[in-house]
Symmetry: C2
Subunit: 358 residues, 2 copies
Amino acid sequence: MKTLRVETAEPYEILIEGGLLTELPEDLPRVINTRKLALITDETVKELITEDLARILEEAGFETKVFSFPAGEASKRMETVVELARSMVRAGFDRKCVVLGVGGGVVGDMAGFLASIYMRGVPYIQVPTTLLAQVDSSVGGKTGVDLPEGKNLLGTFYQPKRVYIDYGVLASLPWEQFRNGLAEVVKYGCIWDRRLFEFLENRSQLLFLYDPDTLEHIICESCRIKAEVVSQDEREAGLRRVLNFGHTLGHALEAALDYEILHGEAVSVGMVAAARLSEALGVAEEPVAERIEALLERLGLPVRFPKEVSAEKLLRFLASDKKVWHGRLTMVLLKRIGEFAFYENPPVEKIMEVLEKL
Amino acid sequence: MKTLRVETAEPYEILIEGGLLTELPEDLPRVINTRKLALITDETVKELITEDLARILEEAGFETKVFSFPAGEASKRMETVVELARSMVRAGFDRKCVVLGVGGGVVGDMAGFLASIYMRGVPYIQVPTTLLAQVDSSVGGKTGVDLPEGKNLLGTFYQPKRVYIDYGVLASLPWEQFRNGLAEVVKYGCIWDRRLFEFLENRSQLLFLYDPDTLEHIICESCRIKAEVVSQDEREAGLRRVLNFGHTLGHALEAALDYEILHGEAVSVGMVAAARLSEALGVAEEPVAERIEALLERLGLPVRFPKEVSAEKLLRFLASDKKVWHGRLTMVLLKRIGEFAFYENPPVEKIMEVLEKL
């Protein structure tokens, strides 16, 4: 087992191990002092994991109840949060309960938000069950829901009491979900840690086999890197933007495809584009694009924009992103593998040039 | 002008003065660094105060927009918060804006909640315009909305950057709104500060005339007392319950009348009942009930339960309150004017006896 301490105002620990879920009954009392647990999950994860977890906890004397909602981003709305809260009140959950979020990113965002506002805040325990959620949302405390006007427009910063990462559950989920998370791991390597990048290059075969040591290492390193970045910038003013590597163009692609693409896939292409732009602008001090592209391809991730999306369309979405940031578009580029550089307002022609070649 | 510093994790100041609203343009830049203000208010206060305030701010170069909702507790729902948030997004308010709540308790609860979740939190400025909101919600950081299942079930603890209390606006509101707030001021005197209680006894005539010095004093003392209590108990575990003096039976009365009674009126009767119970149980070391009753009557507040509410009915609502607290009902009683005592599970017969006489 690996343990990672996250130094927020109230520090918490991330525990990482295969089969960890069976250890929750023993470990939970170390961080919470109630036995009343609301398990928040989506209907897919409920069948696969949450009901079993509830049973394990019940057998150990916890009082549990599973509250679920339909899987998918469409559920990530305030109406769902209100429905969950009402069900909890009717089931007798008072402010002495604990919320456990069991699932992927959407579940984590919603369960954390619910915990942060239920009776003005109850303790929150995070059980991310997709690789993306494990390496991305275990650190940072971001919670929230979408509005029709945009994503994550309502939410809070709310830290969990503990995060349990059981990578044993990953093999039970579709491979594309796993690949989706790998894109973020590659990102951490690109911006922060050459050794992690090289580890991925050397271990792709073991990844495909869900090798425990390999998984433990990449999850732990990803969380460690994110924790390092976030602890230096808790409210998202500066450094934290480095986590947007590949995301600026990735978001434009997601929007252009009306979110009919997995986040990790969009980020994958976005990273290739950002790497090429780093070279085109002379920021890169070594070749980066080809190497990143090779790794992503080996991991089964896309490295080209889909044909139906034109460079012009992407630029339009990029421009609307820019408007949101008061006319300043800061892109994350690479000096070399493992070292980033911020770049303000890269010239449109250069972006266009790169996009057209992809 | 009086200034009161509230020592929360991020300390803030409460400014108290007649005519203070006209000083906002000059003072705001001391606590916020944006000129984009969302003024959240209800439709009644909008006409009376908020539109004028917006004009003053606009003239001083702030960019303001007023977002309003129908007055009354019925608006205190998540749907209203979502509607306000959507309007703000459409009007171009990003995370660099500031939310100003202008109004009574409902506006304060909702505006504070909105500020705490809008784009994961934007700065909040509080402008309470009723006496009740000025002496009660300026301190404590409680925000929230109701669910059909109960009041204040969703919310956050969120501290304002500054609170502006302009008691000059009080005379423009109905007298019963003013009286409603006076009940809470009496409460602070009863539980914490004999001098404040005696000040009220001596100054009731001046209160009726909205005498500035008198108002400034009672508002400042009330906020000071609440700040003292809350700073010793930020998350409501212990001491803070002292603020429930008169509220236990007051809430039962509100529930029995389906909230067709002003909060302050219910608390007024509740305080008389709690004082009588203090005597009946031998907790009071001096006569308290008659003196409290006399002051409340002089202030125009009710001191008897309405005939249509039976003692049995009140006890039923009290019992359901008790269930919420895991079978433990802690009542706040008085040793003497200005000194409280907690009392666990007072015998039902004694409560019945007191209720029947009222």
